[in-house]
Amino acid sequence: MASQPGELRLEAGTPHPRGDWTLEHHTKLRHRIDAARRAGAGAPESLDEIAAIDTAGAALLAELTGAEYLAGIDERAPGLPAERRALLRAVGEALTRCETPAAPRPHPLRGPLADIGRRMEGIGRQQTQLLGFIGQVLATLATSLWRPRRWRLTSVVSQVHQTGLDALPIVALLTFLVGAVVAFLGATVLRDFGATLYTVHLVAYAFLREFGVILAAILLAGRTASAFTAQLGAMKANEELDALRTLGLDPVELLVLPRVVALCISLPILTFVGMLSGILGGAMVCLVALDISAAQFLAILERDIAVQHFLVGIGKAPLFAFVVAVIGCLEGFKVSGSAQSVGEHTTSSVVQSIFMVILLDAVAALFCMEMGW
Protein backbone atom coordinates (compact mmCIF):
# COMPACT_ATOMS: atom_id res chain seq x y z
CA MET A 1 0.00 0.00 0.00
CA ALA A 2 1.60 3.26 -1.11
CA SER A 3 1.68 5.62 1.84
CA GLN A 4 0.93 9.22 1.09
CA PRO A 5 1.24 11.81 3.86
CA GLY A 6 -2.03 13.37 5.00
CA GLU A 7 -2.82 16.74 3.46
CA LEU A 8 -5.48 19.39 3.77
CA ARG A 9 -5.89 21.86 0.93
CA LEU A 10 -8.15 24.89 1.05
CA GLU A 11 -9.99 25.67 -2.15
CA ALA A 12 -12.31 28.67 -2.04
CA GLY A 13 -12.79 28.26 1.71
CA THR A 14 -13.66 24.56 1.52
CA PRO A 15 -11.11 22.13 2.94
CA HIS A 16 -10.15 19.06 0.93
CA PRO A 17 -8.63 16.33 3.09
CA ARG A 18 -6.59 13.66 1.32
CA GLY A 19 -3.79 11.14 1.91
CA ASP A 20 -3.11 9.19 5.10
CA TRP A 21 -4.71 10.72 8.16
CA THR A 22 -2.76 8.68 10.68
CA LEU A 23 -0.83 9.17 13.89
CA GLU A 24 2.40 9.35 11.89
CA HIS A 25 1.37 12.62 10.23
CA HIS A 26 -0.34 14.06 13.28
CA THR A 27 1.88 17.11 13.83
CA LYS A 28 1.74 18.25 10.22
CA LEU A 29 -2.02 17.81 9.97
CA ARG A 30 -2.44 19.69 13.23
CA HIS A 31 -0.80 22.79 11.68
CA ARG A 32 -2.94 22.48 8.56
CA ILE A 33 -6.10 22.27 10.60
CA ASP A 34 -5.18 25.25 12.76
CA ALA A 35 -4.55 27.26 9.58
CA ALA A 36 -7.83 26.12 8.05
CA ARG A 37 -9.78 27.05 11.16
CA ARG A 38 -8.17 30.49 11.24
CA ALA A 39 -9.31 30.93 7.65
CA GLY A 40 -12.82 30.08 8.81
CA ALA A 41 -13.14 26.82 6.92
CA GLY A 42 -16.12 24.59 7.70
CA ALA A 43 -16.74 20.93 7.12
CA PRO A 44 -15.21 19.37 4.01
CA GLU A 45 -17.49 18.45 1.16
CA SER A 46 -16.17 14.97 0.74
CA LEU A 47 -13.99 12.56 2.68
CA ASP A 48 -13.53 10.22 -0.26
CA GLU A 49 -9.93 11.20 -0.96
CA ILE A 50 -8.62 10.16 2.47
CA ALA A 51 -6.54 7.06 1.82
CA ALA A 52 -6.19 5.76 5.36
CA ILE A 53 -7.44 7.03 8.69
CA ASP A 54 -7.04 5.98 12.32
CA THR A 55 -8.48 7.29 15.56
CA ALA A 56 -5.89 10.05 15.81
CA GLY A 57 -6.76 11.22 12.30
CA ALA A 58 -10.45 10.99 13.03
CA ALA A 59 -9.97 13.12 16.14
CA LEU A 60 -8.24 15.76 14.03
CA LEU A 61 -11.02 15.62 11.48
CA ALA A 62 -13.52 16.13 14.28
CA GLU A 63 -11.85 19.44 15.15
CA LEU A 64 -12.61 20.62 11.64
CA THR A 65 -16.14 19.31 11.40
CA GLY A 66 -17.29 19.07 14.99
CA ALA A 67 -17.96 15.78 16.77
CA GLU A 68 -21.67 15.75 15.85
CA TYR A 69 -20.82 15.71 12.16
CA LEU A 70 -18.81 12.51 12.58
CA ALA A 71 -21.40 10.94 14.88
CA GLY A 72 -23.97 11.42 12.11
CA ILE A 73 -21.64 10.35 9.31
CA ASP A 74 -24.05 7.69 8.08
CA GLU A 75 -26.52 10.28 6.80
CA ARG A 76 -23.93 12.81 5.67
CA ALA A 77 -21.61 10.55 3.69
CA PRO A 78 -23.37 7.29 2.91
CA GLY A 79 -20.93 6.70 0.07
CA LEU A 80 -17.99 5.91 2.37
CA PRO A 81 -17.05 2.27 3.02
CA ALA A 82 -18.81 0.75 6.01
CA GLU A 83 -15.64 0.24 8.13
CA ARG A 84 -14.62 3.84 7.71
CA ARG A 85 -18.06 5.07 8.64
CA ALA A 86 -17.98 2.82 11.70
CA LEU A 87 -14.64 4.30 12.78
CA LEU A 88 -15.72 7.91 12.24
CA ARG A 89 -19.01 7.29 13.99
CA ALA A 90 -17.34 5.61 16.98
CA VAL A 91 -14.85 8.47 17.34
CA GLY A 92 -17.57 11.10 16.91
CA GLU A 93 -19.75 9.49 19.55
CA ALA A 94 -16.83 9.08 21.93
CA LEU A 95 -15.85 12.73 21.48
CA THR A 96 -19.35 14.00 22.22
CA ARG A 97 -19.26 11.94 25.39
CA CYS A 98 -15.85 13.02 26.63
CA GLU A 99 -16.20 16.78 26.17
CA THR A 100 -15.60 18.20 29.62
CA PRO A 101 -15.65 21.87 30.55
CA ALA A 102 -12.16 23.26 31.30
CA ALA A 103 -11.51 23.81 35.01
CA PRO A 104 -11.24 27.48 36.03
CA ARG A 105 -7.64 28.66 36.51
CA PRO A 106 -6.89 29.08 40.25
CA HIS A 107 -5.24 32.15 41.78
CA PRO A 108 -1.41 31.85 41.51
CA LEU A 109 -0.92 32.26 45.27
CA ARG A 110 -3.41 29.56 46.06
CA GLY A 111 -1.24 26.63 45.07
CA PRO A 112 1.76 27.36 47.33
CA LEU A 113 -0.45 28.43 50.26
CA ALA A 114 -2.54 25.29 49.98
CA ASP A 115 0.65 23.27 49.80
CA ILE A 116 2.03 24.83 53.01
CA GLY A 117 -1.28 24.24 54.77
CA ARG A 118 -1.45 20.66 53.58
CA ARG A 119 2.09 19.96 54.76
CA MET A 120 1.50 21.49 58.20
CA GLU A 121 -1.65 19.49 58.60
CA GLY A 122 0.23 16.41 57.41
CA ILE A 123 2.96 16.83 60.03
CA GLY A 124 0.37 17.24 62.78
CA ARG A 125 -1.54 14.19 61.64
CA GLN A 126 1.65 12.18 61.35
CA GLN A 127 2.61 12.83 64.97
CA THR A 128 -0.86 11.94 66.28
CA GLN A 129 -0.83 8.78 64.22
CA LEU A 130 2.62 7.85 65.52
CA LEU A 131 1.54 8.36 69.14
CA GLY A 132 -1.63 6.38 68.54
CA PHE A 133 0.29 3.56 66.89
CA ILE A 134 2.85 3.45 69.72
CA GLY A 135 -0.05 3.09 72.13
CA GLN A 136 -1.56 0.31 70.05
CA VAL A 137 1.74 -1.57 69.87
CA LEU A 138 2.30 -1.24 73.64
CA ALA A 139 -1.24 -2.41 74.38
CA THR A 140 -0.86 -5.43 72.12
CA LEU A 141 2.52 -6.16 73.67
CA ALA A 142 1.02 -6.00 77.15
CA THR A 143 -1.82 -8.40 76.31
CA SER A 144 0.32 -10.96 74.51
CA LEU A 145 3.07 -10.81 77.13
CA TRP A 146 0.94 -12.86 79.53
CA ARG A 147 0.19 -15.52 76.97
CA PRO A 148 3.42 -17.27 76.06
CA ARG A 149 1.50 -19.29 73.50
CA ARG A 150 1.03 -16.20 71.37
CA TRP A 151 4.72 -15.29 71.35
CA ARG A 152 5.94 -15.67 67.83
CA LEU A 153 9.41 -16.92 68.56
CA THR A 154 10.23 -18.20 65.05
CA SER A 155 9.29 -14.90 63.52
CA VAL A 156 11.29 -12.96 66.12
CA VAL A 157 14.38 -15.11 65.65
CA SER A 158 14.21 -14.78 61.88
CA GLN A 159 13.88 -11.01 62.20
CA VAL A 160 16.83 -10.86 64.63
CA HIS A 161 18.84 -12.76 62.06
CA GLN A 162 17.94 -10.36 59.26
CA THR A 163 18.15 -7.12 61.19
CA GLY A 164 20.94 -7.95 63.64
CA LEU A 165 23.27 -10.65 62.47
CA ASP A 166 23.28 -9.58 58.84
CA ALA A 167 24.01 -5.98 59.85
CA LEU A 168 26.98 -6.84 62.08
CA PRO A 169 29.77 -6.52 59.45
CA ILE A 170 28.66 -3.14 58.18
CA VAL A 171 28.15 -1.75 61.70
CA ALA A 172 31.58 -3.04 62.79
CA LEU A 173 33.32 -1.58 59.76
CA LEU A 174 31.61 1.78 60.00
CA THR A 175 32.25 2.28 63.73
CA PHE A 176 35.85 1.12 63.35
CA LEU A 177 36.47 3.84 60.75
CA VAL A 178 34.69 6.53 62.76
CA GLY A 179 36.67 5.46 65.84
CA ALA A 180 39.92 5.93 63.95
CA VAL A 181 38.79 9.36 62.71
CA VAL A 182 37.79 10.51 66.22
CA ALA A 183 41.16 9.39 67.56
CA PHE A 184 42.98 11.31 64.84
CA LEU A 185 40.97 14.45 65.59
CA GLY A 186 41.64 14.08 69.31
CA ALA A 187 45.33 13.51 68.75
CA THR A 188 45.62 16.62 66.56
CA VAL A 189 43.84 18.94 68.98
CA LEU A 190 45.24 17.51 72.23
CA ARG A 191 48.85 17.54 70.97
CA ASP A 192 48.92 21.36 71.38
CA PHE A 193 48.20 20.89 75.09
CA GLY A 194 50.62 18.02 75.47
CA ALA A 195 47.68 15.85 76.50
CA THR A 196 47.67 13.24 73.72
CA LEU A 197 47.09 10.57 76.32
CA TYR A 198 43.56 11.88 76.72
CA THR A 199 42.75 10.64 73.21
CA VAL A 200 41.98 7.35 74.91
CA HIS A 201 39.38 9.05 77.11
CA LEU A 202 37.90 10.88 74.14
CA VAL A 203 37.41 7.73 72.10
CA ALA A 204 36.04 5.75 75.02
CA TYR A 205 33.60 8.45 76.15
CA ALA A 206 32.42 9.13 72.63
CA PHE A 207 31.75 5.51 71.74
CA LEU A 208 30.40 4.28 75.03
CA ARG A 209 27.97 7.16 75.55
CA GLU A 210 26.99 8.32 72.07
CA PHE A 211 28.60 7.08 68.89
CA GLY A 212 28.19 3.35 69.36
CA VAL A 213 24.46 3.54 69.81
CA ILE A 214 23.74 6.38 67.44
CA LEU A 215 25.73 5.00 64.51
CA ALA A 216 24.12 1.60 64.93
CA ALA A 217 20.66 3.17 65.20
CA ILE A 218 21.15 5.29 62.09
CA LEU A 219 22.35 2.27 60.13
CA LEU A 220 19.36 0.34 61.38
CA ALA A 221 17.04 3.16 60.33
CA GLY A 222 18.47 3.14 56.84
CA ARG A 223 18.69 -0.59 56.51
CA THR A 224 15.73 -1.95 58.43
CA ALA A 225 13.09 0.76 58.77
CA SER A 226 13.00 1.02 54.98
CA ALA A 227 12.76 -2.76 54.65
CA PHE A 228 9.85 -2.89 57.13
CA THR A 229 8.01 -0.16 55.25
CA ALA A 230 8.50 -1.85 51.90
CA GLN A 231 7.47 -5.29 53.24
CA LEU A 232 4.34 -4.11 54.98
CA GLY A 233 3.57 -1.66 52.16
CA ALA A 234 3.65 -4.41 49.55
CA MET A 235 1.40 -6.52 51.76
CA LYS A 236 -0.98 -3.62 52.20
CA ALA A 237 -1.09 -2.97 48.45
CA ASN A 238 -1.81 -6.66 47.83
CA GLU A 239 -4.67 -6.58 50.37
CA GLU A 240 -2.82 -9.13 52.53
CA LEU A 241 -3.34 -6.99 55.64
CA ASP A 242 -7.09 -6.93 54.98
CA ALA A 243 -7.01 -10.69 54.51
CA LEU A 244 -5.36 -11.09 57.92
CA ARG A 245 -8.05 -8.95 59.53
CA THR A 246 -10.87 -10.94 57.96
CA LEU A 247 -9.25 -14.13 59.26
CA GLY A 248 -9.63 -12.65 62.72
CA LEU A 249 -5.89 -12.04 63.10
CA ASP A 250 -4.38 -8.80 64.29
CA PRO A 251 -1.70 -7.47 61.90
CA VAL A 252 -0.12 -5.52 64.76
CA GLU A 253 0.32 -8.68 66.80
CA LEU A 254 1.32 -10.84 63.87
CA LEU A 255 3.59 -8.51 61.91
CA VAL A 256 4.52 -5.50 64.01
CA LEU A 257 5.25 -7.06 67.40
CA PRO A 258 7.86 -9.58 66.16
CA ARG A 259 9.62 -6.79 64.30
CA VAL A 260 9.60 -4.43 67.27
CA VAL A 261 10.79 -7.13 69.66
CA ALA A 262 13.46 -8.29 67.22
CA LEU A 263 14.86 -4.77 66.82
CA CYS A 264 14.87 -4.29 70.60
CA ILE A 265 17.12 -7.37 70.75
CA SER A 266 19.23 -6.56 67.68
CA LEU A 267 20.09 -2.96 68.37
CA PRO A 268 21.68 -3.51 71.82
CA ILE A 269 23.83 -6.25 70.26
CA LEU A 270 24.76 -4.02 67.35
CA THR A 271 25.46 -1.17 69.76
CA PHE A 272 27.77 -3.35 71.82
CA VAL A 273 29.66 -4.44 68.71
CA GLY A 274 29.77 -0.83 67.54
CA MET A 275 31.29 0.32 70.83
CA LEU A 276 33.95 -2.39 70.78
CA SER A 277 34.78 -1.82 67.16
CA GLY A 278 34.95 1.98 67.53
CA ILE A 279 37.26 1.72 70.53
CA LEU A 280 39.35 -0.77 68.58
CA GLY A 281 39.66 1.75 65.75
CA GLY A 282 40.74 4.37 68.26
CA ALA A 283 43.22 1.97 69.86
CA MET A 284 44.78 1.24 66.50
CA VAL A 285 45.34 4.92 65.78
CA CYS A 286 46.77 5.36 69.30
CA LEU A 287 49.15 2.51 68.66
CA VAL A 288 50.29 3.68 65.23
CA ALA A 289 50.27 7.45 65.56
CA LEU A 290 50.67 8.14 69.31
CA ASP A 291 52.76 5.17 70.47
CA ILE A 292 50.23 4.19 73.12
CA SER A 293 50.48 0.44 73.40
CA ALA A 294 47.42 -1.79 73.64
CA ALA A 295 48.25 -2.69 77.25
CA GLN A 296 48.54 0.96 78.20
CA PHE A 297 45.27 1.72 76.37
CA LEU A 298 43.45 -0.99 78.26
CA ALA A 299 44.95 0.11 81.58
CA ILE A 300 43.74 3.68 81.07
CA LEU A 301 40.28 2.41 80.10
CA GLU A 302 40.10 0.28 83.20
CA ARG A 303 41.32 3.01 85.54
CA ASP A 304 39.45 6.07 84.26
CA ILE A 305 36.27 5.02 82.48
CA ALA A 306 33.41 4.09 84.80
CA VAL A 307 30.91 1.43 83.74
CA GLN A 308 28.04 3.94 83.94
CA HIS A 309 29.08 5.40 80.58
CA PHE A 310 28.54 2.03 78.99
CA LEU A 311 25.16 1.72 80.71
CA VAL A 312 24.07 5.17 79.52
CA GLY A 313 24.92 4.21 75.95
CA ILE A 314 23.44 0.76 75.84
CA GLY A 315 20.37 1.88 77.81
CA LYS A 316 19.34 4.08 74.92
CA ALA A 317 19.49 1.23 72.41
CA PRO A 318 16.09 -0.43 73.12
CA LEU A 319 14.39 2.98 73.05
CA PHE A 320 15.88 3.87 69.66
CA ALA A 321 15.10 0.38 68.36
CA PHE A 322 11.47 0.73 69.40
CA VAL A 323 11.12 4.10 67.67
CA VAL A 324 12.79 2.91 64.46
CA ALA A 325 10.67 -0.27 64.28
CA VAL A 326 7.41 1.51 65.04
CA ILE A 327 8.01 4.23 62.45
CA GLY A 328 9.02 1.68 59.83
CA CYS A 329 5.90 -0.41 60.41
CA LEU A 330 3.53 2.54 60.63
CA GLU A 331 4.75 3.99 57.34
CA GLY A 332 4.23 0.56 55.78
CA PHE A 333 0.62 0.55 56.95
CA LYS A 334 0.11 4.00 55.40
CA VAL A 335 1.05 2.83 51.88
CA SER A 336 -1.79 3.04 49.37
CA GLY A 337 -2.00 1.11 46.11
CA SER A 338 0.50 2.92 43.91
CA ALA A 339 4.19 2.25 43.32
CA GLN A 340 4.93 5.90 44.01
CA SER A 341 3.30 5.66 47.41
CA VAL A 342 5.65 2.80 48.39
CA GLY A 343 8.62 5.01 47.49
CA GLU A 344 7.27 8.04 49.34
CA HIS A 345 6.59 6.16 52.54
CA THR A 346 9.93 4.33 52.48
CA THR A 347 11.72 7.67 52.21
CA SER A 348 9.56 9.13 54.90
CA SER A 349 10.21 6.22 57.26
CA VAL A 350 14.01 6.54 56.94
CA VAL A 351 13.99 10.32 57.33
CA GLN A 352 11.59 10.22 60.28
CA SER A 353 13.40 7.47 62.13
CA ILE A 354 16.84 9.10 61.75
CA PHE A 355 15.36 12.40 62.86
CA MET A 356 13.67 10.85 65.88
CA VAL A 357 16.83 8.96 66.87
CA ILE A 358 18.93 12.13 66.83
CA LEU A 359 16.25 14.15 68.60
CA LEU A 360 15.84 11.56 71.35
CA ASP A 361 19.61 11.28 71.69
CA ALA A 362 19.91 15.05 72.21
CA VAL A 363 17.18 14.97 74.85
CA ALA A 364 18.85 11.98 76.54
CA ALA A 365 22.24 13.73 76.54
CA LEU A 366 20.74 16.77 78.29
CA PHE A 367 18.92 14.58 80.76
CA CYS A 368 22.01 12.55 81.63
CA MET A 369 24.09 15.70 82.02
CA GLU A 370 21.58 17.22 84.47
CA MET A 371 21.40 13.95 86.38
CA GLY A 372 25.19 13.82 86.57
CA TRP A 373 25.33 10.32 85.06
Binding site: L23, A59, E83, L87, A90, L95, C98, G337, S338
Partner: protein
Protein backbone atom coordinates in the same frame (compact mmCIF):
# COMPACT_ATOMS: atom_id res chain seq x y z
CA UNK B 1 -12.08 -15.72 7.35
CA UNK B 2 -10.85 -17.28 4.15
CA UNK B 3 -10.53 -14.13 1.99
CA UNK B 4 -6.93 -13.49 3.12
CA UNK B 5 -4.94 -16.69 3.49
CA UNK B 6 -1.80 -14.85 4.67
CA UNK B 7 -1.79 -14.98 8.49
CA UNK B 8 -0.62 -11.99 10.57
CA UNK B 9 0.85 -14.28 13.18
CA UNK B 10 2.26 -17.71 12.41
CA UNK B 11 3.34 -19.93 15.27
CA UNK B 12 5.06 -23.14 14.21
CA UNK B 13 6.37 -25.99 16.32
CA UNK B 14 6.54 -23.83 19.40
CA UNK B 15 8.09 -25.35 22.48
CA UNK B 16 8.19 -23.79 25.92
CA UNK B 17 9.63 -25.47 28.97
CA UNK B 18 10.46 -24.26 32.46
CA UNK B 19 13.09 -26.58 33.83
CA UNK B 20 11.62 -30.04 33.32
CA UNK B 21 8.06 -28.78 33.11
CA UNK B 22 6.95 -28.76 29.47
CA UNK B 23 4.23 -26.20 28.77
CA UNK B 24 4.08 -26.27 24.98
CA UNK B 25 5.30 -28.86 22.52
CA UNK B 26 4.73 -28.77 18.78
CA UNK B 27 2.23 -25.94 19.00
CA UNK B 28 0.96 -24.44 15.70
CA UNK B 29 -1.38 -21.48 15.52
CA UNK B 30 -2.35 -18.77 13.01
CA UNK B 31 -4.05 -15.43 13.47
CA UNK B 32 -5.65 -13.99 10.33
CA UNK B 33 -6.30 -10.29 9.68
CA UNK B 34 -9.58 -8.94 11.01
CA UNK B 35 -10.56 -11.96 13.05
CA UNK B 36 -11.18 -12.40 16.74
CA UNK B 37 -9.46 -15.60 17.79
CA UNK B 38 -10.49 -16.99 21.14
CA UNK B 39 -7.88 -19.15 22.88
CA UNK B 40 -9.32 -21.46 25.52
CA UNK B 41 -7.91 -24.20 27.68
CA UNK B 42 -7.93 -25.39 31.25
CA UNK B 43 -5.95 -23.61 33.93
CA UNK B 44 -2.25 -24.22 33.52
CA UNK B 45 -2.34 -25.18 29.84
CA UNK B 46 -0.14 -22.22 29.00
CA UNK B 47 -2.55 -19.75 27.44
CA UNK B 48 -0.85 -16.75 29.01
CA UNK B 49 2.58 -18.25 28.29
CA UNK B 50 1.61 -18.49 24.61
CA UNK B 51 0.52 -14.85 24.61
CA UNK B 52 3.75 -13.78 26.29
CA UNK B 53 5.81 -15.74 23.77
CA UNK B 54 4.05 -14.13 20.82
CA UNK B 55 4.43 -10.57 22.06
CA UNK B 56 8.09 -11.25 22.81
CA UNK B 57 8.10 -11.11 26.61
CA UNK B 58 9.25 -14.71 26.78
CA UNK B 59 11.84 -16.39 24.59
CA UNK B 60 10.49 -19.75 23.49
CA UNK B 61 12.68 -22.82 24.00
CA UNK B 62 12.26 -23.87 20.37
CA UNK B 63 10.11 -23.21 17.33
CA UNK B 64 9.34 -20.11 15.33
CA UNK B 65 6.95 -17.24 15.78
CA UNK B 66 6.43 -15.01 12.78
CA UNK B 67 4.64 -11.73 13.24
CA UNK B 68 3.74 -9.67 10.15
CA UNK B 69 5.95 -12.10 8.25
CA UNK B 70 9.04 -11.51 10.41
CA UNK B 71 10.62 -13.51 13.20
CA UNK B 72 10.60 -11.33 16.31
CA UNK B 73 13.46 -13.19 18.00
CA UNK B 74 15.87 -12.58 15.13
CA UNK B 75 15.16 -8.88 14.61
CA UNK B 76 17.53 -6.18 15.89
CA UNK B 77 16.16 -4.25 18.87
CA UNK B 78 15.16 -1.09 16.97
CA UNK B 79 13.13 -2.90 14.31
CA UNK B 80 11.64 -5.08 16.95
CA UNK B 81 10.45 -2.09 18.96
CA UNK B 82 8.94 -0.69 15.78
CA UNK B 83 7.10 -3.93 15.17
CA UNK B 84 5.93 -4.11 18.75
CA UNK B 85 4.24 -0.75 18.36
CA UNK B 86 1.78 -2.52 16.10
CA UNK B 87 0.68 -4.63 19.07
CA UNK B 88 -1.65 -3.62 21.83
CA UNK B 89 -1.60 -5.78 24.94
CA UNK B 90 -4.12 -5.87 27.75
CA UNK B 91 -2.74 -7.72 30.75
CA UNK B 92 -4.81 -9.87 33.04
CA UNK B 93 -4.83 -7.37 35.88
CA UNK B 94 -4.64 -4.23 33.76
CA UNK B 95 -1.01 -3.38 34.64
CA UNK B 96 -1.78 0.32 34.57
CA UNK B 97 1.00 2.55 35.87
CA UNK B 98 -0.24 3.31 39.36
CA UNK B 99 1.53 6.63 39.73
CA UNK B 100 -0.03 8.11 36.59
CA UNK B 101 -3.61 9.21 35.96
CA UNK B 102 -5.61 7.31 33.35
CA UNK B 103 -5.09 10.03 30.76
CA UNK B 104 -1.33 10.00 31.43
CA UNK B 105 -1.28 6.20 31.22
CA UNK B 106 -2.75 6.30 27.73
CA UNK B 107 -0.79 9.38 26.69
CA UNK B 108 2.58 7.83 27.61
CA UNK B 109 3.07 5.75 24.43
CA UNK B 110 1.72 8.64 22.35
CA UNK B 111 4.33 11.00 23.80
CA UNK B 112 7.17 8.49 23.72
CA UNK B 113 6.58 6.82 20.37
CA UNK B 114 4.47 9.17 18.28
CA UNK B 115 6.26 12.26 19.61
CA UNK B 116 3.08 14.23 20.25
CA UNK B 117 3.24 17.28 22.51
CA UNK B 118 1.75 16.58 25.93
CA UNK B 119 -1.58 18.50 25.67
CA UNK B 120 -2.35 16.87 22.32
CA UNK B 121 -1.43 13.44 23.60
CA UNK B 122 -3.71 13.89 26.60
CA UNK B 123 -6.58 15.10 24.42
CA UNK B 124 -6.15 12.02 22.25
CA UNK B 125 -5.90 9.88 25.39
CA UNK B 126 -9.28 11.22 26.54
CA UNK B 127 -10.73 10.18 23.20
CA UNK B 128 -9.34 6.66 23.59
CA UNK B 129 -10.73 6.43 27.10
CA UNK B 130 -14.13 7.50 25.78
CA UNK B 131 -13.83 4.93 22.98
CA UNK B 132 -13.22 2.30 25.64
CA UNK B 133 -16.43 3.43 27.29
CA UNK B 134 -15.12 5.44 30.25
CA UNK B 135 -16.80 8.67 31.39
CA UNK B 136 -14.96 11.97 30.88
CA UNK B 137 -14.08 12.61 34.52
CA UNK B 138 -12.27 9.25 34.80
CA UNK B 139 -9.33 10.69 32.83
CA UNK B 140 -7.93 12.55 35.85
CA UNK B 141 -8.32 9.65 38.27
CA UNK B 142 -5.60 7.26 39.42
CA UNK B 143 -5.90 3.49 38.90
CA UNK B 144 -6.21 2.91 42.68
CA UNK B 145 -9.48 4.89 42.69
CA UNK B 146 -11.17 2.72 40.07
CA UNK B 147 -13.25 -0.44 40.04
CA UNK B 148 -12.00 -3.59 38.32
CA UNK B 149 -14.19 -3.07 35.27
CA UNK B 150 -12.98 0.50 34.79
CA UNK B 151 -9.36 -0.64 35.10
CA UNK B 152 -9.96 -3.19 32.33
CA UNK B 153 -11.45 -0.49 30.12
CA UNK B 154 -8.60 1.90 30.84
CA UNK B 155 -6.08 -0.83 30.10
CA UNK B 156 -7.88 -1.45 26.81
CA UNK B 157 -7.63 2.26 26.04
CA UNK B 158 -3.88 2.12 26.66
CA UNK B 159 -3.57 -0.98 24.47
CA UNK B 160 -5.35 0.99 21.72
CA UNK B 161 -3.19 4.09 22.17
CA UNK B 162 -0.99 3.62 19.11
CA UNK B 163 -3.80 2.29 16.89
CA UNK B 164 -2.37 -1.22 16.85
CA UNK B 165 -3.20 -3.78 14.21
CA UNK B 166 -3.25 -6.71 16.59
CA UNK B 167 -4.77 -6.61 20.02
CA UNK B 168 -3.80 -9.21 22.64
CA UNK B 169 -6.25 -9.59 25.48
CA UNK B 170 -5.52 -11.78 28.49
CA UNK B 171 -8.82 -12.69 30.13
CA UNK B 172 -10.43 -9.29 29.61
CA UNK B 173 -13.79 -10.22 31.14
CA UNK B 174 -12.47 -12.14 34.16
CA UNK B 175 -13.65 -10.47 37.34
CA UNK B 176 -16.32 -8.37 35.62
CA UNK B 177 -20.00 -8.61 36.44
CA UNK B 178 -22.09 -10.25 33.67
CA UNK B 179 -23.46 -6.89 32.49
CA UNK B 180 -19.99 -5.38 32.37
CA UNK B 181 -18.64 -8.46 30.62
CA UNK B 182 -21.40 -8.38 27.99
CA UNK B 183 -20.75 -4.67 27.43
CA UNK B 184 -17.05 -5.46 27.05
CA UNK B 185 -17.84 -8.09 24.39
CA UNK B 186 -19.93 -5.55 22.46
CA UNK B 187 -17.19 -2.96 22.82
CA UNK B 188 -14.70 -5.43 21.41
CA UNK B 189 -16.89 -6.12 18.38
CA UNK B 190 -17.50 -2.40 17.79
CA UNK B 191 -13.80 -1.60 18.02
CA UNK B 192 -12.87 -4.48 15.76
CA UNK B 193 -15.30 -3.27 13.12
CA UNK B 194 -14.37 0.39 13.54
CA UNK B 195 -10.60 0.02 13.75
CA UNK B 196 -10.14 -3.13 11.70
CA UNK B 197 -8.32 -4.93 14.49
CA UNK B 198 -7.26 -8.53 14.72
CA UNK B 199 -7.73 -9.82 18.23
CA UNK B 200 -5.95 -12.62 20.08
CA UNK B 201 -8.22 -13.26 23.01
CA UNK B 202 -7.31 -15.55 25.90
CA UNK B 203 -10.44 -16.26 27.86
CA UNK B 204 -12.38 -18.56 30.16
CA UNK B 205 -15.62 -16.80 29.44
CA UNK B 206 -17.96 -18.96 27.35
CA UNK B 207 -20.29 -16.04 26.68
CA UNK B 208 -17.42 -14.08 25.16
CA UNK B 209 -16.59 -17.06 22.95
CA UNK B 210 -20.15 -17.30 21.67
CA UNK B 211 -20.76 -13.58 21.14
CA UNK B 212 -17.41 -12.22 20.03
CA UNK B 213 -15.10 -14.85 18.59
CA UNK B 214 -14.81 -15.77 14.91
CA UNK B 215 -12.57 -18.75 15.58
CA UNK B 216 -11.67 -20.69 18.68
CA UNK B 217 -8.39 -22.46 19.40
CA UNK B 218 -8.37 -25.11 22.11
CA UNK B 219 -5.12 -25.57 24.00
CA UNK B 220 -4.57 -28.88 25.73
CA UNK B 221 -1.70 -31.28 26.38
CA UNK B 222 0.85 -28.72 25.21
CA UNK B 223 -0.52 -28.03 21.75
CA UNK B 224 -3.52 -26.70 19.87
CA UNK B 225 -6.08 -29.51 19.69
CA UNK B 226 -8.24 -27.73 17.17
CA UNK B 227 -8.63 -24.20 15.83
CA UNK B 228 -11.76 -23.53 13.85
CA UNK B 229 -15.18 -21.94 13.88
CA UNK B 230 -16.98 -22.44 17.14
CA UNK B 231 -19.55 -24.94 15.85
CA UNK B 232 -16.88 -27.25 14.45
CA UNK B 233 -14.76 -26.94 17.59
CA UNK B 234 -17.71 -27.76 19.80
CA UNK B 235 -18.45 -30.80 17.64
CA UNK B 236 -14.89 -32.15 18.00
CA UNK B 237 -14.66 -35.54 19.64
CA UNK B 238 -12.49 -34.96 22.70
CA UNK B 239 -13.27 -35.41 26.37
CA UNK B 240 -12.10 -32.01 27.48
CA UNK B 241 -13.86 -30.18 24.66
CA UNK B 242 -17.07 -32.08 25.33
CA UNK B 243 -16.94 -31.19 29.01
CA UNK B 244 -16.11 -27.60 28.24
CA UNK B 245 -18.71 -26.83 25.60
CA UNK B 246 -21.44 -29.24 26.59
CA UNK B 247 -21.23 -28.91 30.35
CA UNK B 248 -24.02 -26.96 32.09
CA UNK B 249 -22.30 -23.58 31.63
CA UNK B 250 -21.45 -24.27 28.01
CA UNK B 251 -25.04 -25.18 27.19
CA UNK B 252 -26.34 -22.07 28.95
CA UNK B 253 -23.97 -19.81 27.03
CA UNK B 254 -24.87 -21.47 23.75
CA UNK B 255 -28.57 -21.05 24.43
CA UNK B 256 -28.10 -17.40 25.34
CA UNK B 257 -26.11 -16.78 22.19
CA UNK B 258 -28.78 -18.44 20.05
CA UNK B 259 -31.64 -16.40 21.54
CA UNK B 260 -29.58 -13.23 21.12
CA UNK B 261 -29.04 -14.04 17.45
CA UNK B 262 -32.70 -14.86 16.82
CA UNK B 263 -34.09 -11.72 18.43
Amino acid sequence: MSETPQPLIRVRDLENRFGRHVVHQGLDLDLYPGEILGVVGGSGTGKSVLLRSIVGLLRPSAGSIEVFGQDLQRLPAAERSHLEQRFGVLFQRGALFTSLTLAENVALPLIEHAGLPRPEAEALARLKLALAGLPGQAATQYPAELSGGMIKRAALARALALDPEVLFLDEPTAGLDPIGAAAFDQLLLTLRDALGLSVFLVTHDLDTLYTACDRVAVLARGHVLVADRLESVAATDDDWIRDYFHGPRGRAAEGAARTAKES
